[in-house]
Structures are given as structure tokens and as C-alpha cells.
Amino acid sequence: MSVYAINLVGRRTLRDPEFARRLGEDPALALEQFDLAPEEREALLAGDVAALYAMGAHEYLLMGLARRGVLGLDMPTFSERIRAAEPRLDF
């Protein structure tokens, strides 16, 4: 698992408009540069934020994907999907 790479995708999407554009145009190609496990890549391409959250990705960075409207996510979709996840209750 390389949760770091999932988080990095979220960070780059929010902070780098050029990357966000490429992720929007060709998600599979834009994700090639990241060291993602196959199931992580699959969940990202599906916009499955509940699965990514369950893998340990930080929800703030996942919301960054929805804020930029990539990977099939917008805020309503994000909200609906993340609400289906089991809260992690990290402390």
C-alpha cells in the first residue's frame, strides 16, 4: 500500500491547476507518474472515495478531488460516497 501517493494526488490536484487539468482530461495517463498499488489506482479512477478513505487516505485531500471536479467527483457525489464509509476514529 502506498497511501502517501493517494494523498499526493489529492494535494497536486488542489494546488496544481495544470495537473488538475490533465487529471480531468486523461485520468489514467495523469496517474501513471504516481507509485500507486493497483487497487489504489482503480479506486481513484472510479472516484471511489469511500474505498480510498478505508485504505487510509486523508479525507481533506480526497475532498480536493471533488473541489476540482475530477475523477467523476463533484461535491454532491463526494458527500454521498464518503458518507457510506465507516468513520475511522483515528486518535
Binding site: L14, H58, E59, Y60, I82, A85, P87, D90, F91
Partner: protein, 275 residues
């Protein structure tokens, strides 16, 4: 010598600037006005701010628990929330360096940044209150678990307060904490169709009750990591308030203002030192 004259805890939700404008009679507008009025009366020379970062300024490649900005000025927001106006704040690198050094001597191993941008955190309350004070920024990791204990945050604040009081220039310092008390942001416990939720309403009421009584000791005992996690993924922001209270000195006493805002899960509070 420098003095800590007052402390406040205010929210920083990035949509608050809109909310305050749309509802000028609402609790947020009213309480921000009260805090701004108190600050105006006391005329602090400088603000030392205890703020969270939402994984914008720092990231998992290098994530300090405690960070002080030692900068002439700093800018933000770096997280692109349109309601938050871009601004550059003047800082005081000499005091910041003194805090860094004295905190180290008090066994708090801070990180330091000599080139800093911040996210919406501290900028939102300053924007709403329409003030541009000199600000020494201190960032606490309270949003990327695991986070420090409540007791440690309070002790850190004590060390910062002692550092301020040992600073040779004659400065009246306001310590400011920004953040909520209970809140879920972007996690499973958000409200349908919203980016946030406010689980843990009992905890918010309890925090208000204890702080209203000036009972920080009981609050520190009850603010366990588990309790905070139960109150939402952003409930760790209470630690910024605990650090601020530590910086106020021996006993924060009864606040001049303390009011919960249950919808978003934050509070407004203001203490004058030594009262």
C-alpha cells in the same frame, strides 16, 4: 517586558465570511463583532496565533507537530477558498525566534519555517473582524492523526506564554486560537450534501460548561484522544484553544465571552489575562 493581555478562540470555517455577510444579525456576526470590540478596547500590539493547518502548508512528506513561522511577513490563503481574501500579514521574526528558542529550552522541539504561506485558518477571523495585526503564526498539527495530547497542547501554550513574558520589548500580546470544538469535515459524518457536520454536540456543551466555569483542569482530563476523535475529524482543533489558554498564564479564569455555535460546532470565547 512583553505581556499576554488577553486570549480568544474564534472559528475559521472558510465559508464564514459569506455567512456573516448574509446573516448580519446571526450568532457568527454578533460574536465576531464582540470579539473585535474586545480586541479594539485592549489595543494589543501583536497577536500570537495558534492555528491548525489543513494539509495545505505542510504535507505528509514533512509534517511537524508544532511549527513557528520566523518571518518578516507571510501570505495566504494557499487553499483557494474564494470567500477568503488573499492577504499578506506583517510578522515579528525577532519575537518568533525568541519563542522558538525559549520553547526549545522548555523541552518543546518545534519546527521552524523562514518562508511561510498559510491556509484559510488564521486569515478568516482577521478578515471578518477587519483587522490586520502583526501576527506571529504557530501551527499545530491537530488534523492529521495521530495528534498530540490535550495536556501537551496546554503545556506547549504555557511554554509559549512564558516565552512571551520573558521577551524584553514592551509589547501587549493577544493570543488567538482559531478552530472549532466539534466538527467533521469531508469525512463520513458530514451532513447530506454538505462538506461538514457537527457530531459530538454533548462534547461541545461540556467544553462550553467547563470553560465557562474556568475549569481547564477538568477539561484537560476529559479531552482524551478518544473523546476528541468521537467529536469529529476536526475536533482536534480544540487543542489550539488549549494552547492559547496555556499561554494566558496560571489561570484563565472566567471568560468575558463564551458562546457555542452548534450548527458548525465552534465557539467564540474571550479571556482577559488575570481576571
Amino acid at each position: 517586558m512583553a505581556r499576554v493581555i488577553a486570549g480568544c478562540s474564534v472559528p475559521h470555517n472558510p465559508f464564514l465570511p459569506v455567512k456573516v455577510k448574509e446573516d448580519p444579525e446571526g450568532i457568527n456576526a454578533r460574536c465576531f463583532a464582540e470579539v473585535a470590540e474586545a480586541i479594539g478596547e485592549l489595543e494589543p500590539d501583536l497577536v500570537v496565533a495558534f492555528s491548525p493547518d489543513h494539509l495545505n502548508t505542510v504535507f505528509f512528506d514533512n509534517l511537524p507537530t508544532l511549527l513557528v513561522g520566523i518571518v518578516d511577513e507571510f501570505s495566504g490563503p494557499n487553499d483557494d477558498y474564494p470567500p477568503v481574501e488573499p492577504r499578506t500579514l506583517v510578522s515579528d521574526p525577532d519575537l518568533a525566534r525568541h519563542i522558538f528558542h525559549q520553547a526549545l529550552r522548555s523541552d518543546f522541539d518545534l519546527s521552524r519555517s523562514e518562508s511561510l504561506q498559510v491556509d484559510h485558518s488564521v486569515l478568516v477571523p482577521l478578515q471578518i473582524m477587519d483587522i490586520s495585526p502583526v501576527v506571529v503564526p504557530i501551527i499545530l498539527n491537530v488534523l492529521a492523526p495521530p495528534v498530540m495530547n490535550a495536556t501537551r497542547a496546554y503545556a506547549f501554550g504555557r511554554a509559549v506564554g512564558e516565552a512571551i513574558r520573558s521577551y524584553e520589548r514592551d509589547l501587549a500580546v493577544l493570543v488567538l486560537a482559531d478552530g472549532g470544538v466539534i466538527q467533521e469535515v469531508a469525512g463520513p459524518r458530514i451532513r447530506p450534501g454538505k462538506p461538514d457536520g457537527a457530531p459530538g454536540q454533548d462534547w461541545l456543551a461540556r467544553v462550553i460548561e467547563l470553560l465557562g466555569d474556568g475549569d481547564v483542569e477538568t477539561l484537560l482530563a476529559e479531552a482524551t484522544p478518544w473523546q476528541i476523535a468521537e467529536a469529529g475529524n476536526a475536533a482536534g482543533e480544540l487543542l489550539t484553544a488549549l494552547a492559547m489558554l496555556g499561554a494566558l498564564g496560571d489561570s484563565p479564569g472566567v471568560p468575558r465571552l463564551i458562546e457555542p455555535e452548534p450548527e458548525t460546532g465552534h465557539m467564540f470565547a474571550f479571556w482577559e489575562a488575570g481576571r
